[in-house]
Structures are given as structure tokens and as C-alpha cells.
């Protein structure tokens, strides 16, 4: 968890709010949806519809919401991540400046990979147990599609 980075971002968010644009979207386009755990809130941005639809079809619909996989464990880290992404995405959404198709960032991919273990630690203990930290297999290597069919 890169705390300083997130703090800087937090700062950026506040500054951004003052500056307007980001925070403007954050409110008008329901960017603050990032702060809730309601998946449909994520879909407030039509650009999230694809993933939302994919999630609805996935085996995880009844099991995990967006934030279960896209935010790290722990209150502070979770909300810092939400802030950072919320701001970045809000900005991207308004400016229209973002790569298509939308791609998960390496950092958020790690977060998702870690998230798997939040719920599946038991079952995967056998395949993780015998390995020094850093040598864990990436769940996404085989299960990249679980969140979104």
C-alpha cells in the first residue's frame, strides 16, 4: 500500500475540488458513487456498463461487489483507493481522455489479485502455503474472467 502516493492524491482530490472540474464530475456525474459499495452506483458511468453487465453474468454476482475486488482490505487503504480512482476516473470521464478498451491498471490488478485471497484463502492455502512471499501465483493468470463474463 503506497501510503504517501495516496495521501498526495487525497491532496489532489481536495485541490481538484477547489479547482472544480474533477470534483464537479465527482458530484454531477455521481463520481462519489465510488464511495459507496453499491455496484449499480459504479454503473452511474455508462463506461462502466460493460463491466457491470459482465459482473451480473458472473458467478460472483451473488458473492462479491465491485469494491470487494477493486479496493484493498482495510478501511483507510480502501477509501484512499476509492478517492484516488474516483478522482482519476471522474477526471478521465469528463475529459474523455482514457484508453479504449478500458484496461485495469497494474496496481489495481494487484489489488484484485489480492482480493481473491480475501475470500478464497482457505481453498488456495495449499497452492500458496509452500511458497515464499512474492512467489505466489497470480490468480488472474487462470481466472482473469471471474469478475466479468
Amino acid at each position: 500500500m503506497k501510503f504517501p502516493v495516496s495521501l498526495m492524491v487525497l491532496g489532489a482530490v481536495l485541490f481538484g475540488a477547489a479547482a472544480g472540474i474533477g470534483a464537479y464530475t465527482f458530484i454531477y456525474a455521481k463520481g462519489y458513487s465510488y464511495l459507496t459499495d453499491d455496484p449499480s452506483a459504479c454503473a452511474n458511468c455508462h463506461v462502466m456498463n460493460e463491466q457491470y453487465d459482465g459482473w451480473v453474468k458472473s458467478a460472483h454476482k451473488g458473492a462479491a461487489v465491485c469494491n470487494d475486488c477493486h479496493t484493498p482490505a482495510g478501511f483507510i487503504p480502501k477509501y484512499l483507493t476509492k478517492m484516488e480512482n474516483g478522482f482519476r476516473h471522474s477526471f478521465a470521464f469528463t475529459s474523455g481522455e482514457f484508453p479504449e478498451p478500458i484496461r485495469i491498471t497494474p496496481r489495481d490488478r494487484e489489488i484484485a489479485d489480492e482480493a481473491c485471497r480475501k475470500c478464497h484463502a482457505d481453498i488456495t492455502e495449499a497452492i500458496d502455503a509452500s511458497h515464499r512471499p512474492g512467489m505466489e501465483l497470480s490468480c488472474l493468470g487462470c481466472h482473469a474472467r471471474v469478475g466479468h463474463l
Binding site: 481453498i123 502455503a129 505466489e136 501465483l137 493468470g141 487462470c142 474472467r145
Partner: protein, 430 residues
């Protein structure tokens, strides 16, 4: 019941025995890891797929060969192989390979042992040699292997007791994967050096996903015995493609045998699964051998690696469907489409090679001193090696579909050129 499962989950493996670097017997390891052990023991199963698996063939046991069941003979399935390898031990006995449980017996009793005196080096890939090597070299693995290499197979055979075992792939303390085979350690070091990476050691420098292929690369590779000390060498100094391997052999002036009918200095390829896989889209996508041949399976509250190493066609749902959401039948059909194409071209290449050998025989009979013979034999040498590189590779082309077909296409072209050389010299077979 639930309580037990929870137990299992929290502490996946009850360590009931201590495993050390000298614990050879898999049964002992099995006490700590019963689930993996069960799978490991199932490699005795024999089931045939269209191009893989193996068929259990009954035979009357003899003193010389006590096996009552063997795998089908490839020489009988396709007698052209006898002409292709004429004069080499493989023309005497060559069978479909089967599960790991049989590796030691199949090596010990193959008629190739009778056809030619084999060295102790052979055991490197057919037995659990880690402990024996260490013993022999008292503590020094390399010293041990060098000593066993120079023994006769018969003498060396007495020093080993198991097919590949847990200790050959695992660190007894951490259970992490490890490479124990000198042949691979030296081979991969030479390969990496050629790519500008000095002193490469997989056991400290490879990622876990790489290790899931390297442990197999210890044996499923092309190899040769170098020099009188019969050193086991993986010919990777210039790269892993068939082209760079041939270039390496040319540089070494290596010849495996002289073809009995044509007199060509020939090279035999053997099970280059690791090399072929490395040229395919799966390797390129970071998919390792274990992903398909040892897929995870759910047992009780645990996910473990299926230690019943086998054809993925017999386990499509686990081996393929996590990554490919197609129905089993469809995935099977995709594999067989690839294999059928490979097989068709392989048969054309085989006919071409037999033709060239026939032409060489005729030319030899007409004028055994013609300088053209040497030229034509060089083409046979190349065609033989390229065709064999696909023939001996055991996935029927699946590990690298386009590359397999490309190699066969080149083999056919070598035959064409060899035949032209003789034709230009006015040798005409009627």
C-alpha cells in the same frame, strides 16, 4: 464433515514425517501429502487418445523382459520408421510413451538396450537419481552424475530404485519446485548465456510460473551424449528452435549414427517437448506444462495440483476450461484438427524421406564414389532431423501448430533438394 474440512483448510498438510534431502521414497513423502501421492500413483493408468495417451498391450513376460503389459509399438503402426532409422537402435524397438510410473522399467527392458550397449547416463531422465548422484559424488551432484555417466547401464541401474519421485522436483523443506537435473541446469545456462544473461541458475532466478515448465524441461527435451565421458548435453547453445539446434550440432560435428541404407551421417531427435512448446503461443502467453498436464483440482476444501500427469485430453475440463470457455467436445476437436493437419504433412514428409533414401541407395549402387552422394546425404541428414523433430515431439503438433507444419515443410524441401542433386548428376531410379 465440516469440522475436518476446516482443519484441512487451516493446515493443509499434516506433517507426520520429516522429509530430508535424502528421503527418496515417494511413499514417505506421501504420508505428509497423501492427496498428491494418490495422483502420482495413478500414472499407471493407460488410456489412449487419438494421438496420445497410450494403449495397454499384453505380452508374455520373459526372463529378459518381465513386463506383461507394454505400450503399442510405433514401428508396427508405421513401418516406414524402420527405413527412416535404419541402422540405429530405434529401428529395433520404439513404443508410444506412457505414464511416469513405467519410466524405469520401459527403459530397462527396451530392446534398444540389446541393440546397443547403453551408458549409465540414460538414467538421468528415467529414475529418481538425485539421491544416488549425491551419494556417488559424496555430496557433489555434478561429480556424482559424471561418475554414473561412465558406468554401464547395468551397473548404474543397480544404484536407483524409483521412477521420477517427489524429491526430483521438490525441495523437501519448503516443497518449492526445484531443478535437480545437471543436464537442464547446464542447458538453460548455455541458452541464457547466448541471450546475454550470464551464470543463470533457475533455482534462484526463475519465476514460479517458469519453474512450472522447467521441472518438466529436465527431461522432455532433445539431448545427446557428448564425447567418451558420455556427458548428457542439451543442444541449446544457439537457441531452442530446430534451426539453431541443427546449427549447434553442425558446429560440434555431431553425428548420432550412420544410416544403414544410404550411408548418411544422421541425427536423431528425441522428445523436444520443451523446445517445441517454447515456440508456441501458450509459452508466449506464460502458460506452463503444469497448467495443462497437472491442472489444479478441487479435493475437499483444497485446491491441489493433480499429480496424475497425463494427456490433457483426458482431463479437458480442468486442463483447458478455466482459460477457454468452449465445450469439452469443441476443445477436443480443436486439438485434433491441429493434430490431423500435422499428421497429414508428417506423412508426406515421411514418404519424401523414404524416396530420398531410395534414390541414394540407387545412386550408391551406380557409383559409390560420386561426390554427389555426399551432397545428397547432407540433405538427408537435415530432412531426417527436421522430420524427426516433429515425429518425436509428443503433442502431435499441438504445442506449436504453425511451427510444427513449418518444420515439416522444410523437411520436404530438403528431400526435394537432395533428390535434385542426384538427378542433376544423372542418377535416375526406375
Amino acid at each position: 464433515n465440516i469440522f475436518e474440512r476446516k482443519q484441512e483448510a487451516r493446515n493443509p498438510f499434516y506433517r507426520v514425517v520429516d522429509l530430508t534431502d535424502t528421503t527418496e521414497d515417494p511413499a514417505t513423502w506421501g504420508k505428509n501429502f497423501p492427496l498428491q501421492y494418490d495422483g502420482y500413483m495413478r500414472t499407471v493408468d493407460q488410456k489412449r487418445t487419438r494421438f496420445g495417451g497410450s494403449e495397454a498391450v499384453q505380452r508374455p513376460p520373459t526372463l529378459a523382459d518381465p513386463r506383461s503389459i507394454v505400450a503399442q509399438s510405433k514401428l508396427e503402426e508405421d513401418p516406414r520408421l524402420k527405413t527412416m532409422w535404419a541402422g540405429y537402435a530405434f529401428a529395433r524397438d520404439f513404443r508410444e510413451e506412457r505414464g511416469h510410473a513405467y519410466m524405469l522399467d520401459d527403459q530397462t527392458y527396451t530392446e534398444r538396450q540389446i541393440a546397443a550397449k547403453q551408458p549409465g547416463t540414460c538414467l538421468h531422465c528415467h529414475a529418481s537419481v538425485y539421491v544416488p548422484y549425491k551419494k556417488l559424488g559424496d555430496g557433489d551432484l555434478i561429480k556424482g552424475v559424471e561418475m554414473m555417466n561412465t558406468m554401464t547401464f547395468a551397473d548404474a541401474r543397480k544404484m536407483v530404485g524409483h521412477p521420477v519421485a517427489c524429491i526430483d522436483c521438490h525441495d523437501p523443506g519448503t516443497m518449492q519446485l526445484r531443478v535437480t537435473r545437471p543436464g537442464f541446469l547446464e542447458g538453460i545456462r548455455a541458452l541464457k548465456a547466448s541471450q546475454g544473461v550470464p551464470d543463470y541458475d533457475p533455482n534462484t532466478m526463475a519465476t514460479r510460473q517458469e519453474m512450472r515448465a522447467y521441472v518438466c524441461g529436465q527431461c522432455h527435451v532433445e539431448y545427446y551424449f557428448k564425447g567418451p565421458e558420455k556427458r548428457l548435453v542439451y543442444p541449446w547453445g544457439k537457441g531452442l528452435t530446430v534451426d539453431s539446434i541443427l546449427a549447434y550440432y553442425e558446429e560440434q560435428g555431431q553425428t548420432d549414427w550412420t544410416h544403414a541404407l544410404s550411408g548418411a551421417p544422421a541425427l536423431k531427435a528425441q522428445h523436444p517437448e520443451f523446445e517445441m512448446w517454447s515456440q508456441g503461443i501458450h509459452a508466449r502467453s506464460g502458460v506452463s506444462c503444469a497448467d495443462c498436464h497437472m491442472p489444479y483440482e478441487r479435493v475437499g476444501a483444497l485446491k491441489i495440483s493433480d499429480h496424475h500427469v497425463q494427456s490433457p485430453i483426458l482431463n479437458i475440463n480442468r486442463a483447458c476450461q478455466t482459460c477457454h470457455r468452449w465445450p469439452e467436445e469443441e476443445l477436443k476437436a480443436r486439438v485434433e484438427t491441429i493434430q490431423q493437419r500435422t499428421f497429414r504433412l508428417r506423412n508426406l514428409a515421411m514418404d519424401a524421406l523414404i524416396d530420398l533414401i531410395g534414390d541414394l541407395q540407387a545412386a550408391k549402387a551406380a557409383d559409390s564414389t560420386s561426390p554427389r552422394l555426399k551432397e545428397a546425404r547432407t540433405f538427408q541428414r537435415k530432412a531426417q532431423f527436421y522430420l524427426d523433430f516433429v515425429e518425436a515431439e509428443n503433442s502431435g503438433g499441438f504445442h506449436a501448430p504453425q511451427e510444427s507444419s513449418r518444420i515439416l515443410g522444410e523437411a520436404i524441401d530438403f528431400c526435394r533438394k537432395g533428390q535434385s542433386v542426384l538427378r542433376t548428376a544423372g542418377f535416375a531410379r526406375r
